[in-house]
Symmetry: C2
Subunit: 227 residues, 2 copies
Amino acid sequence: MQTANVGQDSNNTAPAPAHQQVYHQLRESILFGDFTPGQPVTIQGLVTELGAGMTPVREAIRRLTAEGALEFQGNRRVTVPELNAGNVDELIIAREALEPALAQRAAERATAEQIAALEATDLQLDRAIEHGDIPAYLRLNYEFHAQLYAIAAAPILTQIADGLWLRFGPSLRVVCGRMGTQNLPDRHKETIDAMRLGDVEKAREAIREDVIQGMVQIREALYPATA
Amino acid sequence: MQTANVGQDSNNTAPAPAHQQVYHQLRESILFGDFTPGQPVTIQGLVTELGAGMTPVREAIRRLTAEGALEFQGNRRVTVPELNAGNVDELIIAREALEPALAQRAAERATAEQIAALEATDLQLDRAIEHGDIPAYLRLNYEFHAQLYAIAAAPILTQIADGLWLRFGPSLRVVCGRMGTQNLPDRHKETIDAMRLGDVEKAREAIREDVIQGMVQIREALYPATA
DNA sequence: CAGGAAAAAATTTGATCATATTCTTGGCGG
DNA sequence: CCGCCAAGAATATGATCAAATTTTTTCCTG
């Protein structure tokens, strides 16, 4: 959400608390596919791997568990969730409901600069797709939507939508790994055009299609049999 | 979500971890109005009040912060969030999007027993409204919706919808305290009737109206000026 | 004698606590 | 009125205890 100074402390600002740093690191790892669905996540493993204390790691894990990015396995174990077909359907419902609302608000508020920045991200995204650079694709695709959220200026809706990315991030990574980046069309250009023209309804619809298209692709890749 | 054994350990089962117990206690306190919007929540206060250790309390707070039930004030302070008019609007959007979807799924799946249980809850709710029993009203109103979520069998959507209750719970309490329970009509009867008849669309619409009605009432009570 | 299931020991991991450290804040003196 | 200092609260650490998993051992059966 807020861009806290995750790194070293600049001149006067205090460094971010360790638990926040750990949280952000873990979050990125989950979002951009350093973890695979089903993978166990151990506290002690992270403690040694990140060189952090036990308490910050525990807190970061709790936070991510609450966001649905990790799953409490009952027996004190925590794993990266594996999505079943029903879960994907739920995510489709949720994203189809939320993202168009955010896009609409963004279209109503966007300045020319913000739209330009959006387009810049999308161009980088195109390049990543051309090069088949999956990590860059995942990052920039998320970045595009995150920029849209920021423009929408709706903190609660944004937090919820962001949480959804955490849920399907690991699976998206798997799907991309299988299919490459070529067959991943989006509706970003249409969205940007609509925003330039101030056509709120069209922007809303473009994002709706973008989201559904992407989610259905995940579902088809993971569960081809299911209708 | 899952009904862990929060209390003493029954014969063979291990007692729930302290951090979960603390989480559930805090959660209830927030949901049913033991905390008021803006109220600061201190770790040490909870440690002494609940007689729990510091680590479990910290973890519970982190979890509730991630769910939006508490707010990180930046300077290490945590408070119960105060909703502004825009926040309420966002909550309306989110609930209007999610609850009908859940109601639809519930209507598609409900057994006669489940509908009967729903009706029983609603009758208790009516009694609480008659008696002006605000705590009971808050509890049973939530219970009604929670039962609906359970029937819908959609864990992700349920978790998100549940999180929304945590966000407006404290404010709902304030509104009820101001207006009493009399002027709080709902569409529960219509919902139950529609479910009995298997009229999925009507159930969806009834819940949609129920939710909007309730949320608009909160908005009007807190921010009368705003359209 | 080999294979395998059950039991027991060992190791790994999670939960909690007491304590030290760091940061914020409110009051006091300049 | 501004800056410094002390009190209090939050953060972080490492130790300790408990639970779960894994490995080893044992014993029985074919």
